[in-house]
Amino acid sequence: MIVDAILSPEFLNNTLRATTPILFAALASAIASKSGVVNMALEGIMLFAALFGVIFSAAFQSAWLGLLATMVVGGFIGLFLAFAVLKLKTDEILAAIAINLIANGATILILLFVSGDRGISSSINSLTIPMVSLPVIENIPFIGTVLSNQNILTYISLIMVVVVHIFLYKTPLGLQIRAVGENKDAAESVGISPDRIRYISLILSGVLASMGGFFLSGGYMTRFTTGMSAGRGFIALAASAMGGNTPIGSFLVSLLFGAAQAISNILQLGTLPHELVQMLPYLTTLIGLGIYSYSRMKKRQRLMGR
C-alpha cells in the first residue's frame, strides 16, 4: 500500500502542493540574502499574509484582488523591516524576531476584531484561488495527474523561480542587488546606494513571502487558522541557504523538503513509528545542510589550490 502510494502520481501532486508555500518564502529569502540582509521575518510575514488574504478576499469578494492587497501588505512589512534595520540600525535578526512574535499575537487580535473568533476565520466569507486542470497536459498519463489539477498559485510559484532568476541575473537592478550583497563598499564606490537597494530587496522579499502566506489560507486551506504558517518561514530560510540563495537552488531544496513532507504523510499509513516518520523532513534538512557544507569545503579547498 505504501509503495503504491509513493509511486502514485498523487504523491508528486502532494509534493508540489507542500512545496508551494515554502518555495515562495525561499525565493523571498534568496532575494533578501543576495542583497546582504537575512530576512528572518518570513514566518511572521506569512502568518500576517494568511490572515489578510482571508480578510481582503472577503472584502473585495475577489481572490485575485485579495492576493494583490495581501502582497501590498507583505511589501509594507518588508519595508518596515528595512526601515528598522537600515534607518534605525536595529539588529536584523532581533527586528525579525520581533515581527514574528507580533504576528503571533496580532493575527489573533485582528481575527477577533474582524470575525469575533480567535481560532478560525470560518465566519469570514473568504475566497480561494482555484485549482486548474491544464488542457492537453492533463491527458498525458502520470504527468497529467502530477502537473494538472494544481492550484494556480502553485504554477505561479514555479514561474516565479524563472522570474526571480532572470531578475537577479539578467537585469541591472538584479546586478545591483548582488553587488551590494557581495561587497557593499565596492557597490557604493560606483554610485549604487546600498540602502536603497536593500529597501527594494526587502520589500520584494515581503511581497513574495506574502504570496506564500496567502496560499496557505486561500488555496491550501480555504480559511485561516491561528499559527497556520507553522514554521514554514524558517524551513524556507534553510531551503534558500542550502540552495546557495539562488532561485534554482532554492527551488530544488524546497522541492526536496516538500517531498520529505509528502513521504512522511504517506509513511504514516504504515506501521512505522510515527515519531520517526515525522522526523523525516527535518532529517532531510540536516543531511542536506551537511552535504552542502561539505561540498563548499571541498570547493574552497580546490580554490586554494593546495
Partner: protein
C-alpha cells in the same frame, strides 16, 4: 527631561498605590466565591476552552455576582507563549484572591504540581488530563476527567457502520477502512483512539484504521495533507479528527475527497456550514458542565479534593451532537444502533477500554490489531 521622568515616576507610584488600595477594598467587601480560569490558549477555540468559559458564565448568571465571580486569563497557545504559563499560574496563586484556580491540559501538569506544593492553601480544579496524586500530598487539587473513550466508542461504531453502508453517497462499501487524525500522541489522544478502535471493532470486527498524527495542534495545512493521503491512498471513507485546529485540515480534506469526517470538541458541523455535508456529527466534552458541577459541589463543601473523577455519558461529561443535521446525515437504523450502544455503556453492559494507565506496548498492540 528629568522633570518629565520624575513626574512620570510619581504618577506611576500614585497609580500603583491606588491599585493596592482597591484590592484591599475588595478584600474587605462581602466575598463572593471567586474562580480564576487560566487557559494555556485563547478563547475562541470553539472547543473546550470556550466550553469552560461558557460554563462559568452560565454559573455566574445562575448564582448571581455576589455568590460567584470569575476571571479568565488567556495565556496563549503557541511556543512563544509557553514560557509565561507557569509564572502566570504562580502569580495567581500568590494573590491569594481566588477560592479556586481552574487550569487544564497535560501541558500544565508540571507547573500545577509545583504550585500546589508551594501554595497548599490554594485550591485547584484541573481538567482534561490525569493528575498523578501519588507524587505527594495534593489535597488541594480536584481532578476532573472526561471519558473521551466512551464518546469515541460511539464515533468508531458509527464510522465502521458507515464505511460499509452502500446507501451513503460518499463511501465505497468495498473498503473497510476508517481514519483517525491525532495532534500528537499523548494519553488523552490515545484514549480517544482506543475508544474509537474498540467501537469500530464492536460493529465490524475486521475493520482497518488508518492512524495519522500532525505533530502539533495548529498546522492545519499539514493535517489536510495527511488526511488526504488517508482518503485517497488509504481507502478511508470516514475519518475522525482529534487535533485541535490542525484537525480542521481533515474536514477540508474530506470535502475535497468527497468523504466523511467526524468532528470533535465542538459542534463542527455548525461551526463550518460550508463543509457540514461532510461532517455527520461531533463528539463533545462538556467541560463547562463539569465545572458547574464541581463548583456547586465546592460551594456546599462537598467537592472531593485530592481525588480524580471521570465523567462519562452517565454524568453528562461527554456527548455526541444529535440534532437535525445528524438525523439528516445518518440513516435511522445506524442512529438507533448508536443510541442502543450509548445505553449499554451507561448501563455498564459495555465497558469501554481506556488508554489512561496503559503502557506504550499495550497501546501499540491495540493499534496493530487494526492495521
Amino acid at each position: 527631561m528629568k522633570r518629565v521622568l520624575s513626574l512620570l515616576l510619581a504618577a506611576v507610584m500614585i497609580l500603583s498605590l491606588a491599585a493596592c488600595g482597591q484590592t484591599q477594598d475588595q478584600g474587605s467587601a462581602s466575598e463572593p466565591y471567586k474562580a480564576a480560569l487560566l487557559l494555556n490558549g485563547t478563547l475562541g477555540d470553539k472547543s473546550f476552552f470556550d466550553s469552560a468559559h461558557e460554563g462559568l458564565v452560565k454559573l455566574k448568571e445562575e448564582l448571581g455576582e455576589d455568590v460567584f465571580d470569575f476571571k479568565v486569563e488567556q495565556m496563549g497557545a503557541t511556543a512563544a507563549d509557553e514560557p509565561k504559563w507557569a509564572p502566570t499560574l504562580f502569580d495567581y496563586c500568590e494573590t491569594g484572591e481566588y477560592d479556586v484556580i481552574i487550569i487544564g491540559t497535560w501541558q500544565m501538569i508540571e507547573a500545577l504540581e509545583e504550585a500546589a506544593q508551594q501554595f497548599p492553601d490554594q485550591k485547584f480544579i484541573f481538567f482534561d488530563e490525569t493528575f498523578d496524586f501519588s507524587k505527594g500530598e495534593f489535597n488541594n487539587i480536584y481532578n476532573v476527567l472526561y471519558k473521551q473513550n466512551e464518546v469515541s466508542f460511539l464515533v468508531g461504531a458509527a464510522a465502521a457502520m458507515m464505511t460499509v453502508d452502500e446507501r451513503l453517497p460518499m463511501v465505497d462499501p468495498e473498503t473497510k477502512s476508517i481514519g483517525f487524525l491525532g495532534g500528537m500522541e499523548n494519553p488523552i489522544i490515545n484514549d480517544f483512539l482506543v475508544g474509537y478502535i474498540q467501537g469500530a471493532k464492536h460493529v465490524l470486527p475486521d475493520v482497518k484504521v488508518a492512524i495519522g498524527y500532525v505533530g502539533n495542534f495548529y498546522d492545519s495545512a499539514a493535517g489536510k495533507d495527511i488526511a488526504l493521503v488517508q482518503y485517497q491512498s488509504g481507502g478511508v471513507d470516514v475519518g475522525y479528527n482529534v487535533a485541535g485546529a490542525a484537525g480542521l485540515g481533515q474536514i477540508e480534506a474530506a470535502a475535497d475527497a468527497k468523504r466523511y469526517a467526524f468532528g470533535v470538541d465542538s459542534d463542527q458541523a455548525a461551526l463550518l456550514p460550508e463543509q457540514a455535508d461532510y461532517i455527520p456529527t461531533s463528539a463533545l466534552k462538556n467541560v463547562g458542565n463539569s465545572l458547574i458541577r464541581a463548583i456547586k459541589l465546592d460551594l456546599e463543601g462537598k467537592l472531593a479534593y485530592g481525588t480524580a473523577e471521570s465523567l462519562g455519558f452517565a454524568e453528562g461529561g461527554v456527548n455526541l451532537v444529535k440534532d437535525e443535521h445528524y438525523e439528516k446525515m445518518l440513516p435511522e437504523d445506524i442512529r438507533a444502533r448508536i443510541d442502543e450502544l450509548e445505553q449499554e455503556i451507561i448501563d455498564g453492559k459495555i465497558v469501554v477500554d481506556t488508554a489512561l494507565g496503559k503502557t506504550q506496548e499495550e497501546i501499540d498492540a491495540i493499534k496493530a490489531s487494526v492495521q
